[in-house]
Symmetry: C2
Subunit: 407 residues, 2 copies
């Protein structure tokens, strides 16, 4: 797995793990491109195309649960009912959300243009968009961008990295990962997302690819299991986007039918790797915080408690200030919608027990929070349920970025 550094990096070279190139084109049967179509006024890359050259085109997707869904989400949910995708067109520079019938027409036309170029049907092309909500995408610019991207399609890590770069918004680094099975198949993937990240994903778009041989229902089961414990466990600011999309495309090019459990584990590994990269590159991040809850009545309750702590603005600002303010953590545990016995509550921060049995254990000033990684461990003493949420601190830079950037 590729492990990113904490600080903002701007290196867009393909990450390399043990000599392998790591990207959405890692698996056999995939080509990609990332181009500057002119949607972003900055002139930065803003349109990506990922193509599955087969021999199979099985696919699965997971989408935002937001009731206000962007046009590309409505389009892609619809076309994915067939369980097959030949290609995905992704753009940054505009979310195409709250854009009405006109916005849906642009998504449809984008799929049609890609389909014409690839010689397939529009219903085999998914669309993903990210950027400002409420503005119409410039239709002709997008369609010309699809043609430009089609002309730039290539196999290999450079093409995958170009695609990953073209979907960035406030991301400072392209995010890619992969996993390799000794059985001869791979899973690769890319993602974007730096803010508006919360349960059931984020303003995040992610495309995963594999050359394993699987049917759509098998892909769907693996993807849902993976997302549940990876992207769904990342919560930067509690906000859920109108555009969240994770797609998994399978080319079958390896000819190998994988062990289902091994395949699910590999997809989960890639999703977790990408989630960690999003955490490390989140808007305004200065601390990467893991909230780990054990001893809950159930796994779901553990996640509820972890998410409540991870979202608490007072906890997040205290950790930004390197203050091991466990009282705020205890308060957040107490108002979560989960069973809590205050007399059994233990809170440990970076290995130092601060609260034992619901009472101060001392040591608050001895906790070293000078580093970028913070582990908040909450033990409820009620059962065997455990779970964790990845989050970030609430910093001046978060406020700055989100009060200035009209996303």
């Amino acid at each position: 797995m590729h492990e990113p550094g904490a600080g903002p990096a701007r290196d867009r070279r393909p990450p390399v793990d043990g000599g392998r190139a790591v990207s959405v084109t890692s698996a056999q049967g995939f080509r990609a491109a990332g181009v500057a179509a002119g949607i972003k006024s900055s002139g930065n890359p803003d349109l990506a195309l990922v193509v599955n050259d087969g021999p199979r085109t099985a696919a699965a997707g997971v989408f935002t649960r937001n009731k206000v869904k962007a046009a590309p989400v409505l389009w892609s949910e619809q076309v994915l009912t067939s369980g097959a995708l030949r290609a995905v067109v992704l753009n940054s520079g505009g979310a195409n959300a709250c854009t009405g019938p006109e916005g849906f027409q642009v998504a449809h036309a984008t799929a049609e243009r890609a389909a014409e170029l690839l010689g397939c049907g529009a219903v085999e092309v998914a669309i993903c968009s990210t950027g400002l909500i409420g503005a119409q995408l410039p239709r002709d610019t997008v369609l010309a961008g699809v043609e430009k991207a089609h002309g730039a399609l290539a196999a290999g890590a450079d093409a995958g990295t170009a695609a990953a770069g073209a979907i960035m918004t406030t991301d400072t680094v392209a995010k890619q990962a992969d996993a390799v099975s000794e059985a001869g198949w791979r899973v690769g993937g890319m993602t974007k997302g730096a803010g508006m990240i919360a349960p059931s994903m984020a303003t995040m778009l992610s495309v995963l690819t594999t050359d394993a041989l699987l049917d759509a229902p098998e892909l769907d089961a693996a993807l849902r299991a993976a997302v549940r414990v990876s992207f769904d466990r990342l919560d930067v600011d509690g906000s859920m986007s109108t555009n969240d999309t994770v797609l998994l495309l399978a080319s079958g090019a390896s000819g190998v039918r994988p062990d289902p459990a091994e395949f699910t584990a590999a997809v989960t590994d890639v999703c977790r790797d990408l989630a960690r990269q999003m955490q490390a590159d989140a808007e305004g991040v200065t601390k990467r915080i893991t909230v780990r809850v054990t001893g809950a009545a159930t796994e779901d309750e553990a996640v509820v408690v972890a998410r409540t702590v991870a979202r608490d603005s007072l906890v997040k600002t205290a950790l930004f200030g390197s203050d091991a303010n466990w009282g705020r953590i205890a308060a957040a545990v107490g108002y979560s919608d989960a069973a809590v016995d205050p007399d059994r509550l233990d809170i440990t921060v970076n290995g130092v027990p601060l609260c034992v049995g619901g009472v101060a254990a001392g040591g608050r000033t001895s906790v070293d929070l000078s580093g970028a990684d913070i582990l908040v461990a909450v033990a409820l003493g009620l059962g065997e349920g455990e779970g964790e949420i990845l989050t970030t601190d609430l910093s001046h830079a978060y406020v700055e970025e989100n009060s200035a950037y009209p996303s």
Copy 2:
């Protein structure tokens, strides 16, 4: 009603409304005091005493729903089962939360000392605390403070204002209000609270007093109805405290039995006034935001939608930046746990329609957000349910105050 200014004020003189003094001692039959007991290392006032001299001592209370409850909350909930209170001791400088049996003993001893001085039982004395969670209160300092406050007890607005000043933490101004009935009775009150403010109240302590003649069940009904549409509709940062307490004490000194509806309305007015003062003095506030939702299926769903928008960090940072970013509002509406039809969604900010029928209506740059007050109006077009939440923006000052202040 006393209407506070937007900016932080440090005027602790009693507010005067139409020549009346407005305080927790406005109603007949009450004395109060606020003293510097030495709990706060700053030497600022930190202990308040409110005494009901009768002839009646009926009382009601509403407490935090946090499962981690401070010792004074556990004590006060217990003594209030009798429906009578002779006095309330309040301290700032320490929450006495997560302090175990030792903390409960301090609360108990505080009530006993006040009871000895007043010639009543300890079960007639409620205790309220606010400040850092997890530290033991200095028992002897608190008990000496109770004696000092007892010696300073007085009727009149100056005494009430001294009490209101002694419960301040990060508050910059003492918060008081009252209401007067032509029938001859009054309701007065004070509150504190500037952060950790959320549903089912906040790190807020509030004592309300009346000289109307009511029984405890009548007080309880009026108080719960009032809190539901006032303090419970203030949500600064989504965090719920371990210490929230609102008490209502009735002396019956006016000899007037009020009309129940008029009394409930008066208590509601006072609570709303105090809630607005807390909003105006919230930590780091630069904008006072009202999120008003209409057209929901039910009132509860309207409040759910309003609260989700009010808590969204991206909405709050955008409004801090005077950016009418309605797309973020639409996204928050969409992920709320309420029925939403995206095609019927209207969003209006400070009177300018920005989204109509789920689609951009233009005008985003024409919204004047330069003032301190912002009204976000969301119309769902589904039913008759409506409700509003008061909140504030998420500013640099909020981050600064909460990363530096170990509350």
